[in-house]
Symmetry: C2
Subunit: 229 residues, 2 copies
């Protein structure tokens, strides 16, 4: 058996996760009711509590489904870079490490049909979600990848003070998060209309250039920071 008709593994579960992903992105967690969610998923109102246990557990499942594979892809890319190094190459450059990190997000944003785009925009907003348990879940799911990338940056930039590097990683992460979350939302800067079928490749080039320059910015000599330009 089990050869033909692979048996939809929890088809309802998947439909609920997809609907949740989109509605959470559109309206947020609290403003999305189980009734509209299950209606969109074509499921019964009780289905969420049957399959996931509670609304909070559903939120967690939405993030686990995507974040695990996304960060695994990031680590795999880092593995690939460091394997090249062992095979006679050089230590991965900051540019390569940045590319490994942001590439995973931007590739997902191109996946408009698969819902990855919905997820990315939801994710970018959730980093600053008021609910502490949601933030700590995100932090926990990111932790392994973050460790690896921090170590990679430290090896690529041995001369940079550790606390300075951490702050710059913080800034880079923020830039990426906001860019992904806000691309279709705010356009604070007048004339900016990034909605018009924006090219992910061009965005990656622009974003990488910005992040690399920021990461490699000249170190301010502590104490005398006013003079620079």
């Amino acid at each position: 058996m089990s050869l033909r008709s692979v048996k939809p593994p929890h088809e309802t579960r998947t439909r609920i996760l997809d609907a949740a992903e989109e509605l959470f992105m559109l309206h947020g967690f609290e403003a999305t009711s189980m009734r509209q969610l299950t209606a969109k998923a074509g499921a019964n109102l009780a289905a969420v509590n049957y399959h996931f246990g509670s609304k909070d557990a559903l939120i967690e499942a939405v993030f686990r489904r995507r974040l695990d594979v996304m960060n695994a892809a990031r680590i795999a890319e880092l593995d690939r870079l460091e394997k090249q190094e062992k095979d006679g190459g050089r230590v991965p450059t900051p540019q390569q490490i940045i590319g490994a990190f942001v590439g995973a997000s931007l590739r997902m944003i191109e996946d408009a049909k698969g819902g990855g785009r919905n997820f990315i925009r939801l994710l970018g907003r959730t980093y600053t979600d008021p609910q502490k348990n949601i933030r700590s879940l995100i932090g926990q799911l990111y932790a392994p990848a973050m460790e690896r990338f921090k170590a990679a940056f430290e090896r690529a930039l041995p001369q940079m003070p550790r606390d300075e590097l951490i702050w710059r990683m913080h800034f880079m992460f923020g830039t990426l998060a906001y860019t992904l979350a806000a691309t279709d939302t705010v356009q604070l800067i007048a004339g900016c209309k990034p909605e018009d079928r924006y090219d992910a490749g061009l965005l990656e080039a622009r974003l990488s250039a910005f992040l690399q320059a920021g990461l490699l910015a000249p170190l301010h000599d502590a104490g005398n920071v006013k003079k620079a330009a």
Copy 2:
């Protein structure tokens, strides 16, 4: 009359705004109920609807109270820079313009007692709020300052393509927003504990260095973006 005892102008209004600012920052708009809000403000449950009309109107009032003065300060600083220019100085540098923008936010974050810090963290999160009316309110309150700063950057960087500048302003804005919103929230990067009484001056130096480098990053030659380092 009206000389002595200046008569507290809507003391209850102010207490409600302060309580709302803190609770919205801590728990978000939807998760903050009128009951806990009015309780914290020491006011009656009906006070919000009496003084503001509705919960949504209260949210709007919270942002108007702070954003108007903050962006006015930004524009005033820009005026000051351009006045120096007219008096024989040079055109304001990117560094100066960045400083005028981020300085207003960072000065507000030092105002721990006045509640400005609560507001800044609330604001940073609201840029990506799911509710469209809230985002459009923010955009509307930012519009005048954004126009001015875009023009200032264009004069400071005449050689930079307009669309590239807009994206880089977008990136800079995101870095600032995330940094302010997430300083005490997520700490995705292990070992980063920015809560420990972080020095606003040092943060400004770090942030400015990062933003300036990103803004002035070398232009990618369109089409061939892979090679750089």
